[in-house]
C-alpha cells in the first residue's frame, strides 16, 4: 500500500516540564492511495500523541483513511521505549523500544516490532525486526 499527498501538520497542544515534554498533533491530507491494483483519491487524518523524558518514551498515533473504493482503513501505531542511560547532546543516546501496529486493511492486522534507536546530535537512526521477520530501518537528520 502506498500513499501520495500533501499533508498539513498542526501542533494542538504541548506540555513542557522539568525533564519531560509531551505533544498532541493533528495531521491531514488529501491525495492518492494505491493498494494492490486499486488507485483512488483519499482523505487521510491522523492524531499523534507522545510523551518523552530522557529515560522513557511513549507514543501513539491513530490514522484513518477514507477512500472512494471502500478500502477505508484504521491504523493505530504505539511505541514504548526506555533509555538505559541519560545521554548529553554530544553523546550517543540509545533507546530500546517496542512498536505495536494495528492495521484494519492488512491481512496480518497486528505486528509487534522490537527496535533500537540511536540519537547523535541531529542524527537519528533506528532499526527493528518484527516478530514475523520484516525489517524496519529509519534514518533522520534534523536540519
Amino acid at each position: 500500500m502506498s500513499y501520495i499527498a500533501p499533508q498539513v501538520n498542526v501542533l494542538l497542544k504541548r506540555w513542557n516540564g522539568d525533564g519531560y515534554q509531551s505533544n498532541i498533533y493533528f495531521m491531514g491530507g488529501v491525495g492518492l492511495m494505491k493498494y494492490r491494483d486499486y488507485q483512488h483519491s483519499s482523505i487521510l487524518s491522523e492524531i499523534d500523541a507522545d510523551a518523552e523524558s530522557r529515560r522513557c518514551f511513549a507514543s501513539t498515533k491513530l490514522q484513518s483513511m477514507l477512500t472512494g473504493i471502500g478500502s477505508n482503513y484504521v491504523h493505530v501505531q504505539s511505541r514504548l521505549g526506555f533509555a538505559p542511560y541519560k545521554a548529553e547532546f554530544n553523546e550517543v543516546s540509545t533507546w530500546f523500544m517496542v512498536q505495536h501496529d494495528f492495521n484494519s486493511l492488512l491481512e496480518k492486522k497486528e505486528i509487534l516490532t522490537p527496535l533500537i534507536r540511536f540519537y547523535y546530535e541531529n542524527y537519528l537512526f533506528e532499526a527493528g525486526r518484527s516478530l514475523e521477520g520484516d525489517w524496519m530501518l529509519n534514518f533522520m537528520v534534523h536540519i
Partner: protein, 90 residues
Amino acid sequence: MRRFVFILTLLQFSLGQAAQIQVNTKGMVCGFCAQGIKKKFSSEEAVQSVDVSLEKQLVTLNIKSSQDLSDERIAELIREAGFKPGKIKR
C-alpha cells in the same frame, strides 16, 4: 608608561570578554531539542556560541562583546523553538 600599558591591557581584556547568559529551559529531552535551540540562537547577530546541557536543562549563550540580547527576546526564542523558558541568569 608601564602602568599605562598595564591599565590599557586590562581595559582591552575586560572590553573583549564575551558575556554569558544562562537560561533554564523546560522540555529539553533529546538531541533534536538541543539542535533546535542551537539553531534558533545561532541565527541571532549578538550570539557568539550556544551550549546546551540536557542534564541541567540549561542553555548557555555566549554573547559577543559590546552586544546584548534582552530577556524578552531570549524567552521569545525559547518559546519559538518549542520549549518553556525559566530563570535567566546574567
